[in-house]
């Protein structure tokens, strides 16, 4: 397994925070000065595979680190970003929560051009999404569940495997 992120966790380069499950380290190829990666220490390629408690804590640490950026490297803003999947620009085969320090006129452009959708397109999206949010807000507990309980999700896993393979093809 050749994962740059796992490699960096192992050799502790640029490490700024660490606990049992999470590491935060300075990006080796930063998009801005002070660009930090917050990652699960286990090799987890995509967001959906990160457990609920761990993703929650990754966000909480990201928020704290973001505050540290304001204070210790004198930036005026931060972006928190997850690029989930290849079309979203995910570079690494490891789930990353980016903290990107920002300054006025830094030349980064993380904005997007809004699309004009018809009322109908909007309602279709609304109805489709709403129908499927029934399970949102029900979180996994801190301890990992035994493998058997995961069985009904087998169909979904195939789908995920395909995406992992895509990611593994990255250099």
């Amino acid at each position: 397994m050749n994962c740059e992120i796992c490699e960096q966790i192992k050799n502790r380069k640029g490490l700024i925070y660490e606990d049992q499950d999470i590491a935060a380290m300075l990006a080796q190829k930063p998009t801005a000065v002070g660009h930090v990666y917050i990652v699960p220490k286990k090799h987890i390629p995509i967001l959906e595979q990160v457990s609920d408690p761990i993703i929650g804590r990754m966000f909480a640490k990201a928020n704290k680190i973001s505050m540290s950026c304001f204070e210790s490297i004198g930036v005026q803003g931060t972006n928190l970003l997850i690029q989930n999947g290849l079309p979203a620009g995910q570079h690494h085969n490891h789930c990353i929560l980016h903290v990107i320090p920002r300054k006025e006129g830094d030349g980064l452009n993380l904005a997007w051009q809004p699309k004009q959708l018809t009322e109908e397109e909007m309602s279709t999206a609304e109805i489709q999404i709403k129908e499927n949010t029934g399970q949102v807000g029900i979180f996994e507990k801190e301890k990992e569940k035994p493998a058997e309980i995961e069985k009904p999700e087998e169909i979904q896993e195939e789908e995920e495997d395909y995406r992992i393979k895509e990611l593994e093809r990255l250099p």
């Binding site: 640029g14 700024i16 606990d19 300075l26 080796q28 930063p30 000065v33 930090v36 959906e48 609920d52 408690p53 993703i55 929650g56 804590r57 966000f59 928020n63 680190i65 973001s66 505050m67 304001f70 204070e71 930036v75 005026q76 803003g77 972006n79 928190l80 970003l81 997850i82 690029q83 290849l86 079309p87 979203a88 620009g89 990107i100 920002r102 830094d106 452009n109 993380l110 904005a111 997007w112 051009q113 809004p114 699309k115 959708l117 397109e121 909007m122 309602s123 999206a125 609304e126 489709q128 999404i129 709403k130 499927n132 949010t133 399970q135 949102v136 807000g137 801190e142 979904q156 995406r163």
Partner: protein
């Protein structure tokens, strides 16, 4: 949200369109709601199905949000992203938060974007990978490490819990000294330059109390390590 009277807060909330959406007083295309957040479709979407997650409480920027609520937001982001992937048959999502005008924050209320992505949609939000010299890398690492140690504790603090409590006071003192030094040069989180009235008040009040703030920091330190202890014991 220290430094704001309840009256001021009520006035802010009345003017804030996102507070109104959260309270259900303004129509929106709501797709999810719980006690902390509401998720609605963005009326200016980057792609169809673009979701905005808004806190029900009024927070200008993310640093004001308590840890448990941030954790909740993180978990929700993953689950809503999952919902988008499955229902819209996507290959990816972008989760995006802007803190401060310099980062592209436009509203006076915290929000998180979850944007459906498909190959070749060319909506932007790409980050480049730049080279950095070892010297610069080490310099930034040192500066940031010092800052993060103040708020999150030393690396591998888990194994040295007893030492930490001693260090905590030292660190609080150190923080106070550094705070004083930095007070003049410290950059403010720019929320909006044009409309100064209420915001500068809020942030002004925030920064006028360095001692109170560092006390709070210290408390947070404690919170973090207690959490960690609980986790170690529970594991």
């Amino acid at each position: 949200m220290e430094g704001i009277t309840p009256e001021q807060l009520a006035a802010i909330q009345q003017q804030c369109i996102f507070c109104q959406i959260g309270a259900g007083k303004v129509a929106s295309r709501k797709v999810y709601e719980d006690e902390h957040v509401i998720a609605v479709l963005d009326i200016n979407p980057a792609n169809p199905g673009h979701i905005l997650v808004i806190t029900k409480k009024h927070y200008f920027v993310m640093p004001q949000i308590p840890d448990e609520e941030v954790e909740h937001i993180g978990k929700i982001s993953k689950q809503l992203s999952q919902v988008l992937l499955r229902t819209l048959k996507l290959e990816g999502t972008t989760i995006f938060i802007a803190n401060g005008v310099a980062a592209g924050q436009k509203a006076q209320h915290f929000m998180m974007h979850i944007i459906p992505r498909k190959e070749g949609d060319e909506i932007g939000i790409q980050i480049s990978q730049r080279q950095i010299s070892d010297k610069d890398y080490d310099k930034i690492h040192k500066a940031l490490l010092k800052g993060v140690e103040k708020s999150l504790g030393k690396i591998s603090g888990l194994e040295k819990e007893s030492e930490e409590t001693e260090e905590m006071e030292e660190r609080a003192e150190e923080a106070e000294i550094i705070k004083e030094k930095e007070e003049e040069t410290k950059p403010k989180i720019l929320v909006d330059k044009t409309k100064k009235r209420s915001k500068t008040d809020v942030f002004g009040a925030h920064q006028a109390k360095p001692s109170g703030k560092s006390k709070k920091k210290k408390k947070e330190d404690k919170d973090v390590s207690l959490d960690e202890i609980a986790k170690v014991l529970g594991a």
